[in-house]
Symmetry: C2
Subunit: 321 residues, 2 copies
């Protein structure tokens, strides 16, 4: 994966410049928060996907770096709002913006980043991009709202969980890849293939994120173990456990989830997950999505760029933070 | 003003249909909140401005009702976020959405309305509209953030107050009028005249809103008297009073504003405002903006539509809720 980052460094530096240049609000407070959050060590996975996807075609738009900034702005806008929604203390191992600048300022900074993303995208004057991005953002909000509706819902099915994941996370991964295809003037089929690749990657990414909540070296993740269960977020490991354990254990789990203070019982939950292979199940699911993503790229001839996309796909499931 | 509402009823009914049809999220929670807030008796001033402005030209786009919905979605998105920012209890005489559905859901519903507005606007496939709307939304967020930065800032100047007002409120009024001009294919000069008219109206509207906070029949406004001073919002009457009263009164005012519980002292503030003519001063300012707005329409020949815009302008300063 390090080689991939290195090979696309020039393009990613271009994106980095675009990210920085776009944060030129007249309002100091907004600049402070957006810079603080955008420069807090995010991996820039979405810009990377965009940059590599854009190399899959021949024509590359002279201002395509801007699109990398757009994906990162949208992602960061959701982080700013999510941290308010989740009452988060930390993000990426440092204080969440809301703890430094307040909830109000964080909401507004998220709003601002979203409006800046829209300004950038419409400046490309490309109808297909406009439609794609606006639909994606709408889906992301719906995904978050669906997740909120399903808080502590013990009957949440795997199918509905996957829908939440697709909407809130995979949509932007998919859009990043497809934007790369649009900007390099690929055929309809190839753009769809990139979109499908990104969607599958995004689903796998979120599933792994959700398993890390039960495994993580929380120094890296910047949040504490078992945060999801504390917030009543029903994710794949817990859904699997819940639908496979015996009645008595189910009752215990319900008590733990509904107590809203599941920290002391977390070890018991982890033991049950181990016993029923829930983490393993989730990881296998993620593997399957990665494989489906790779298959979608069968349409493209072998190339260093396709190989890079495969490497990124593998990284999604091997990462431990 | 009643005649104006009546004369444009058909077009406004079209907007109303577009508002309702666009609220078709797959997610129940979002539909509930957006409907609750959008159907809570908002006056639809922005759609009215758009509809009348659109009649100032000859060509009217067949889907221009959609633009009325766009302005109302954006306005409502800011209300949903504002109520969270301000910890508001009520809105338009009923419980604020956040008190019924929670802060989290309100933030997401606001995000959703904003993304829906963007989806609608890009569906018009008109670059000028895209640029206008995205810039307007960005300004609105900046205006809110600037206002937040200036909370309890006793040195806030009238000029900076007017900038906040222009950004957070007048931008959307201006955009509504200009969109009408774009959709009816008016000349550059006429579109700018409508934009200028809307901006001046919006500034006057907000100044009146801010004076009503010290005067209002709070049953209509759905918020209590003196709410702004309680939140440390420095608005025109207070800025005027502060820069005109004597040192001793200034010290008293500082104490009242910084106490964060200014309710018991509100009567004293109102008395001082009466004594120094601060409300009158603010109203005269609003009058001047209305006049400037009307002057901008000098470019157009006299017509029933221009007359309707004048009537709307007068309504801005005569309203008492």
């Amino acid at each position: 994966m390090d080689t991939v980052w290195l090979n696309y460094k020039e393009a990613l530096d271009g994106v980095e410049g675009a990210i920085s240049q776009g944060l030129n609000s007249e309002i100091d407070l907004i600049n402070k928060i957006t810079r603080y959050t955008l420069m807090s060590g995010g991996k820039r996975i979405r810009p990377l996907l965009l940059v590599v996807s854009a190399q899959m075609g021949k024509v590359v738009h002279p201002r395509y770096f801007l699109l990398g900034a757009v994906t990162e702005y949208i992602h960061t806008a959701t982080l700013l709002h999510d941290d308010v929604l989740d009452h988060a203390k930390n993000r990426r191992g440092q204080l969440a913006a809301r703890n430094l600048y307040g909830n109000q300022a964080s909401i507004l900074a998220g709003d601002f980043l979203y409006t800046r993303a829209v300004q950038h995208i419409v400046s490309m004057e490309n109808t297909e991009m406009n439609h794609l991005l606006s639909k994606t953002c709408s889906m992301m909000t719906e995904g978050e709202a669906l997740q909120l509706s399903c808080t502590s819902d013990l009957d949440l099915t795997e199918a509905l969980y996957l829908k939440i994941v697709e909407y809130k996370t995979a949509g932007l991964f998919s859009a990043a890849c497809k934007l790369g295809g649009i900007v390099s003037a690929l055929s309809y089929e190839k753009k769809e293939a990139l979109s499908c690749f990104g969607r599958n990657l995004g689903i796998a990414f979120q599933i792994i994120d959700d398993t890390l909540d039960y495994l993580a070296d929380h120094k890296h993740l910047g949040k504490s173990l078992g945060q999801d269960i504390k917030e009543g977020k029903m994710t794949l490991p817990l859904i699997h456990l819940f639908s496979n354990c015996i009645e008595k254990e189910k009752t215990q789990l319900i008590d733990i989830i509904q107590s809203k203070k599941p920290k002391k019982d977390l070890f018991h939950v982890l033991q049950l997950m181990e016993q029923y292979g829930s983490i393993l199940y989730a990881k296998k699911k993620a593997d399957a999505f990665i494989q489906a993503g790779k298959n979608a790229l069968g349409l493209f001839e072998d190339s260093t760029h396709r190989h890079a996309l495969f490497t990124i796909a593998d990284y999604m499931i091997s990462r431990n933070h």
